[in-house]
Symmetry: C2
Subunit: 465 residues, 2 copies
């Protein structure tokens, strides 16, 4: 595979001397693909990286900042001279520019604003007015739009003139000639294969174009782009003026970021803001400790539940032997159900209103899975007892029966609770992905104990209890 060979020895050597010879590093990376130049710069502290960047040719510097992936890019930008930073911001893609500007501290934002021309300033402000997980917050204001009454020839000539500077030229927006509202979208492919004398409008589809508003969630934008196989989607205001466009590469980044967030939430913690290795110790403790402590406090209910059954426990210590086994089975079946439903909701395979259809599926599934584990559990106790590996007492078969029945009850409850929790969270306005395996396990554990001791009471009453 080309282009992913890691850093050459020459670059590695130059990086070692970055503090003393920043221009040597700049020389060794200036011809690299920006992705690889970024890989090299990410080995350096922000201060050293900024030093190297000051020595790069302007074109290399711009494509470096236009490519996502530079670690601490806002901090690096803050460390550049104002002249250098201002020049860069003026030439960068508007979406990346706003993203980097958004994460700079207030003082640097103020200082830099003076170095920016009014158009650049306006573009930054327009994008920063929207949250960064909305269409408005990730759009670029740099797109090709032409009057809808042009010919294909005029359109292609215009693209030839301005296309080099635009972020994408593959979707061209046709505006109503007088009121400048969005009328149609035409792809560069449609223009290139069309008769040059035809009108651009005749070349476009006659379907209503797919559009989003600036407030549309980036996950929804991603879903639309992927569903309709688009290269970009226009962001329009209430009057159908195009504010900007969101391109497919931004959407891939958004899908990957959402996937990471979901995976971390499903693991029972707050989503991190950066790569694992770049998160500080205290922040890591905060992101993990909060959920861990909350789960611990809820899980304390298990101790309370156990305290209520203390007399049963003293009479029948044999029951305690199976508590971890039974509780974990409830948690595991709940974790399966919850991860299935989180993902199905995220992909819109099921809707909020489908909760009862899911419940109707999960109860028989849980019963069948519980019966499977129950049989294995009973066989285990019978085999240990009969082969003399362990003596579960005179009433060993009733103990086995208790364990088997408890497993059916707990696995069914786990599957049902695990599948309903994401719906409940979504209904309450939370992210369904917060229905982590640990959350479900905690929910199921207390009920699991109650189910176990209730069944034990019924089965063993008059014998052990």
């Amino acid at each position: 595979m080309q282009g992913l060979n890691g850093l050459t020895p020459e670059v590695t050597r130059a990086l070692g001397q970055a503090a003393a010879h920043p221009s040597a590093v700049a020389d060794s990376i200036k011809a690299l693909h920006p992705v690889e130049a970024i890989e090299a710069l990410n080995q350096l502290e922000p201060r050293l990286a900024a030093g190297v960047i000051e020595h790069l040719p302007e074109a290399a510097r711009i494509s470096l900042f236009n490519t996502p992936g530079l670690a601490n890019s806002s901090a690096v930008m803050e460390l550049l001279s104002h002249g250098c930073a201002g020049g860069l911001l003026a030439e960068m893609h508007p979406d990346r520019r706003a993203e980097i500007f958004r994460h700079m501290d207030k003082d640097h934002q103020e200082a830099l604003r003076e170095h920016l021309d009014p158009a650049t300033r306006a573009s930054i402000e327009r994008i920063m007015a929207y949250p960064r997980d909305s269409a408005g917050g990730i759009m670029t204001t740099d797109f090709v739009s032409i009057p809808a009454d042009w010919t294909v020839e005029q359109a292609l000539a215009h693209i030839k003139d301005v296309g080099g500077a635009r972020e994408t030229v593959y979707a061209i927006y046709l505006m109503h000639p007088s009121d400048k509202t969005l009328q149609q979208v035409v792809s560069l492919r449609q223009l290139v294969i069309a008769d040059r004398k035809a009108s651009v409008l005749s070349v476009a589809n006659n379907r209503t174009p797919i559009t989003v508003t600036p407030e549309t969630d980036r996950e929804e934008v991603a879903r639309l782009i992927s569903r309709y196989d688009l290269l970009a989607v226009p962001v329009i205001d209430a009057d159908r003026h195009v504010l900007g466009i969101v391109t497919v590469d931004d959407v891939i980044d958004a899908i990957v970021a959402e996937g990471t967030e979901d995976a971390q939430k499903m693991g029972g913690m707050e989503a991190l803001d950066g790569p694992y290795m770049q998160i500080g110790f205290m922040e890591m403790i905060k992101k993990r400790g909060g959920w861990l402590a909350a789960l611990f406090l809820s899980e304390m209910l298990t101790a309370t539940a156990m305290q209520n059954y203390q007399s049963e426990l003293e009479k029948a210590v044999v029951l305690t032997l199976f508590i971890p086994l039974i509780m974990s089975s409830g948690g595991n079946s709940g974790s399966q159900a919850t991860s299935l439903i989180i993902r199905a909701l995220a992909l819109r395979q099921i809707k909020l209103g489908d909760w009862w259809r899911v419940a109707v599926r999960e109860v028989p599934t849980g019963l069948a899975l519980g019966a499977l584990l129950g049989i294995i559990g009973i066989v285990r106790i019978v085999v240990w007892q009969k082969t003399g590996l362990f003596n579960y007492g005179d009433h060993w078969f009733l103990v086995a029966l208790t364990v088997g029945l408890a497993l059916i009850g707990i696995v069914t409850f786990g599957s049902l609770a695990g599948s309903m929790l994401p719906f409940a969270l979504k209904r309450l306005g939370f992210d369904p992905a917060s229905a982590s395996a640990p959350f479900v396990a905690t929910l199921v554990d207390v009920t699991g104990l109650v189910i176990y001791f209730t069944i034990a009471y019924v089965v063993l009453k008059g014998t052990l209890l």
Copy 2:
């Protein structure tokens, strides 16, 4: 938002009569965007959907099958007449065609093969020779390639001729004029903004093009396309001949599919092959029951461990009260660590060789988190004892100390084991995402019991034990 308004009443009405009047359904959906037509057809059984499709105009039929999302598309294709299916396959995009053909049963494949022209047959066989999660298995064989010695004008004229039929025209592959190996890639944008008399080679970048081999994993392809912001990546053989290309829209589908697989594996089950609601009852039991039973069998070790501590349990029933609490904390901290590392490995933020750097981070993190929970646990016991909510016996403070120390040990062990498991799985050639929260919890539970009883033995020896 346009285009996602669901089905119109007219379409819904027609769908209700699909069995009697398939042509009425065809009339009501033929002008829709293929994505919406698919939404309507997905409401029908495969047999009825096939009946409607036979009544659609050919162009609508082709774009329907070219768009991903038609439920049971291979089954629907099997139900079409051979003439209709053969015509469709001949005109479809090669990647979608191979995908649908791959999932048809052997008899239908054989029967249809006779209706296909040799070029279509060769393309299907070329793609089906590779697994469907590799670049070769998702590539399209339909791309634009031209001799590298052409001018921009020749290239544009060629694209105008052939571009309508090609799946994408945004990346154009420049072949060595004599040996037909890949020399360079040029984008349609570069051609459109270039001087028409220039040579195509002078317009392209002079970097080595990013390429993959047919065996490259689709996840790796997705990572490359997203990293380098490409619209397509060429798949080349050992002689640098281009076999096909993978386009960005296929990659989005691949990223989403991988995310679903990972989420399901992380939930402790086998990945499903389809949407939640479309999986049959028995298949669901199989996908979930296998892992659940395996986890249950491993978790039985907890019963064995408990049996070993039976005499301690009889002497100090008070210790059992905290078993669920302590075990779940180990599982929760392990689940956090494992989901962090699975995701960081998937995004290549860390490499296999980084395991010791992760271990060095996780041990202090685990100690700090364990101390946090330990303090909460001790406070809980002290408060309950002092306020008379529960009596933990004469040695209540030693019990509290046991719980606190055990939590430190178990949370540290959980964080370490949870973070190392994905590395171990990856090293052994398994998917790190299989290190599910349930898997980690099971791993941690047995050790957790041993840690708890060992600490209890040391702290309580001579008093309770």
